[in-house]
Assembly symmetry: C2
C-alpha cells in the first residue's frame, strides 16, 4: 500500500520528520533522553544530535531538565508544539491523500497481473 | 519560513518525492530524458535510475517512447497520474499546514530576539 509521509523543512539542512518527532514523544513518555534513545534503538549521541539540530533551528530548546541518564527530562512548550502540530498535519495529510493513493495503488496492483479482470 | 514537504512511500526502499516528480514534469515539458536531466543538472544515468525505481515499484513504465537522447519520450498515463496526484496532495497539505507552520514560525522568530515586543 502506498502511504504518504511529511516532513517540515526549517532550512536547507534541517528537517523535522517522523524520526525526530518519535524521539520527542519517547522523551515525553519516559522522561529521559537515554531511556528514550534506548527505546528507539538509537544511540544517546544520535538522540542528542537530533535534539541539538532542533534546538539550533528554533534558537530555543525543545527539551528541559537533566539531559543525562538520570531522568527528569521533559519537553518544553516548543517541543510539545512541534509534536502536536506535526501529528496534526500528518493526520490531515493522510486523510486528504487517501483517495489519491487508492487510485495509484489500484494501478500498481493490476500492473503485475495483466489478466486480472 | 518553515515549509512542509511530502513524499509517497511505495516500499521501505522506494519513495517518490519532489525530485522524481520534477523529473517527470521536465520529461513531459521537453520530450526527452536526456534534455530533462540536463535541465535539472542531473546525469542521464541518475535520471534513468530514478525512472527505473518508479517503473519497478509500479510494475509498469512511467515513460514511453524513445529513451535515449533523440527525444520522443513522453509520460505514460501512470506517469501523468503520479505527477497529478503528488501535486494535488502537496497543494492540499500546504494549505492545511499553513496555520500550524505560522505558529511554529512565530516561536522561532521570537526565539532569537528575546526583547521583541
Amino acid at each position: 500500500m502506498i502511504t504518504v509521509r511529511i516532513f517540515l523543512k526549517l532550512s536547507p539542512d534541517t528537517r523535522i520528520g517522523v524520526g525526530k518527532v518519535q524521539l520527542l514523544e519517547a522523551i515525553d513518555a519516559v522522561g529521559s533522553i537515554s531511556a528514550a534513545a534506548r527505546s528507539l534503538k538509537m544511540s544517546f549521541r544520535r538522540a542528542w544530535e537530533l535534539l541539538d539540530h532542533m534546538n539550533k533551528a528554533f534558537g530555543s530548546p525543545v527539551v528541559a531538565g537533566h539531559v543525562g541518564s538520570a531522568g527528569g527530562t521533559e519537553l518544553t512548550e516548543l517541543g510539545r508544539l512541534i509534536v502536536d502540530r506535526f501529528r496534526r498535519i500528518e493526520a490531515e495529510t493522510e486523510a486528504i491523500a487517501a483517495p489519491h493513493l487508492a487510485e495509484l495503488d489500484a494501478l500498481r496492483l493490476t500492473a503485475g497481473s495483466p489478466k486480472a479482470s
